[in-house]
Amino acid sequence: MSDKNTPFFVGYLPSPGPLRWFLMTTIGLFIATFVSAGLFIGATQDAPMPSGFRFDYGPQTVTGVIELTPYPILRVTQGNELIQEGKTLMLAGQGKNGIDQRVMEADGQLRSITGIVLQRGTIDMLQVDGRARGVVDVEGTAPPMETVPLGRWSLAGEICDGKCLYGAMRPGTGLAHRACAALCLIGDVPPVFVSSQPIEGSDFMLITGPDGTVLPRAAYDFIGQFVSLEGDLERRGDVMILRIDPQTMELTAG
């Protein structure tokens, strides 16, 4: 039972004196809580990986040989100041789309590609221009390109989409980004594997299914998590490609 000495608050009347002090203190605490929570949570966000679009370079046009892994890569034969001959570029379209449709017939042929650079360390991707100038046929015969088999490897790391890993989104990896990565992969953006240990100087590689197939659906359950898997590794220029063996994928403790 309440007693007479506790102040009684009625919403539509002014509050009684002692209660007013109590409420003022509560208001102060309330605002202090919101201010400090905003500051502490906001100022302790993890730094995204160093990667991103290079709109500052402007659109780049280079010529090279298209190879379908089945995800298309471009092995540059005629570069420019920024992208030198001999470099290998992964290719993606705009939004969460690959450019498979546009280069379907181009395996082993020369094409001139225009797009915006996505950079992560020394390895680049091109977001191919959506207009006709994005992919242009080039006269001439394509020089033979070398593929170096590196044998079977057992690796641990994370499956994600190449475009976001290259910094199209920051953060572009991890569980929070998982659904987004799945949408990219459904849209045929090249999938990549970020290895916990650098292999042959690179910590990530393009991944495909076995025997030149696209990434199997079973792999989608593992996106954004720490997994171990095995596969056959090969090098094409400065990009490595891992043909994964879906049977070997399993979650591991990070």
Binding site: M1, S2, F9, I31, F34, F40, I41, Q45, A47, L175
Partner: protein, 356 residues
């Protein structure tokens, strides 16, 4: 109260309440959105869309945590009751903040694909059978849907339309929504962080809500309203000297309902303890200007007939009373709401104090 429905019946305290709430929320968002990016000064910044989504998500969580702490706090210490007064506005505002969080996410992580972004929310991740990598977004969708329903039915019109018990049950879904948010965050961003400051604040908030509810339940169980003994349909309330002028004593009836026995200027009257507005505990209120005043939102009733003064139309049941020696007894069957019962004078008139 109920003469006609206008969107909000404003008064000075509601303005203060909403202003304080707004200052807190705006301060949180301003600092998170505009001050912390420079403190972080990452070489490669978090995309603004994600930074914004995190700010609004964390803010909605904090708001809901505070809202859910108010109930048990007010039960433990009556001085917190004013915070309960306008809690609905707080809830509606939380819904808008949560909606902003969801739309930043949907227009970023789920956009730019060939598929519709709302459909993508459902099919992009279907690993429902695993804990790690579970589509934690569905918990967010559930919580947001619940918040939207509660915000839409928060007005007194719906309270009346659905009747208070149904309305109350519907609105206790807020607890389910809160649990869903805990799951949303625990299976999502908490699995994904290097810096654990947010995890710490988050867990502290969720534990505070759970702990306060447990403590308030224990508090009430220990010091709660007691059951009276019943003989021949009459329940013993207590001794004639026990109830102070202007206050009431609450007893639990055999059917679990509560009755509040008031002393108004030396005369006893009994009415149902449940306010017709939202079941507020009338017996914890006071008699002001000859009217029982509910401690929750201030609805008033004449203690002799359980009716709100004109032009209002709320009514609560009354009970028959009698004295047997020094014992006050109340009949366990309520009279229909609004029935006048002659007050029972106490034998020795106590010195009359008025609060007016």
């Amino acid at each position: 109260m109920s003469v006609k429905y206008i969107p909000v019946q404003w008064n000075q305290n509601k303005w203060i309440y909403d202003a304080v709430m707004l200052i807190g929320v705006v301060a949180f968002l301003y600092i998170f959105l505009f001050v912390t990016p420079d403190i972080l000064s990452h070489d490669y910044r978090i995309n603004p869309q994600v930074h914004n989504a995190r700010a609004f998500g964390a803010c909605a969580f904090l708001m809901l945590t505070v809202i859910l702490c108010i109930g048990p706090l007010a039960r433990i210490d009556k001085r917190f009751l004013p915070l309960l007064y306008n809690r609905r506005h707080f809830g509606v505002m939380t819904t808008f903040v949560a909606l902003s969080h969801a739309s930043y996410i949907i227009n970023w992580y789920f956009a730019f694909a060939r598929s519709d972004k709302y459909e993508a929310l459902l099919f992009a991740n279907t690993s429902y059978t695993q804990i790690a990598g579970f589509p934690f977004e569905v918990f967010g969708v559930f919580a947001l849907t619940t918040l939207l329903i509660l915000a839409a039915t928060s007005h007194d019109f719906w309270l009346k339309f659905l009747t208070p018990p149904v309305w109350k049950r519907l609105h206790s879904l807020i607890y389910v929504a809160y649990v869903a948010i805990v799951a949303h965050v625990s299976l999502g961003i908490l699995q994904d962080q290097q810096n654990h400051v947010f995890s710490f604040i988050f867990m502290a908030g969720a534990l505070l809500v759970a702990g306060l509810h447990a403590y308030a339940a224990w508090w009430q169980w220990r010091g709660g309203d007691s059951r009276g003994t019943v003989r021949d349909g009459w329940l013993t309330v207590g001794n004639i000297g026990e109830i102070e002028d202007g206050l009431a004593k609450i007893k639990v009836l055999p059917n679990g309902d509560r009755v509040a026995v008031f002393n108004q200027a030396g005369k006893l009257s009994a009415i149902s303890n449940a306010c017709a507005h939202q079941n507020g505990p009338l017996g914890e209120g006071r008699i002001l200007d000859c009217l029982v005043t509910c401690p929750w939102h201030g609805f008033q009733y004449n203690v002799t007939d359980g009716r709100s003064p004109a032009p209002f139309t709320e009514m609560v049941p009354t009970f028959n009373l009698r004295l047997r020696g020094a014992d006050i007894e109340v009949h366990t069957d309520p009279n229909p709401p609004g029935t006048y019962v002659e007050p029972v004078p106490l034998p020795q008139l106590q010195p009359v104090e008025t609060l007016a």
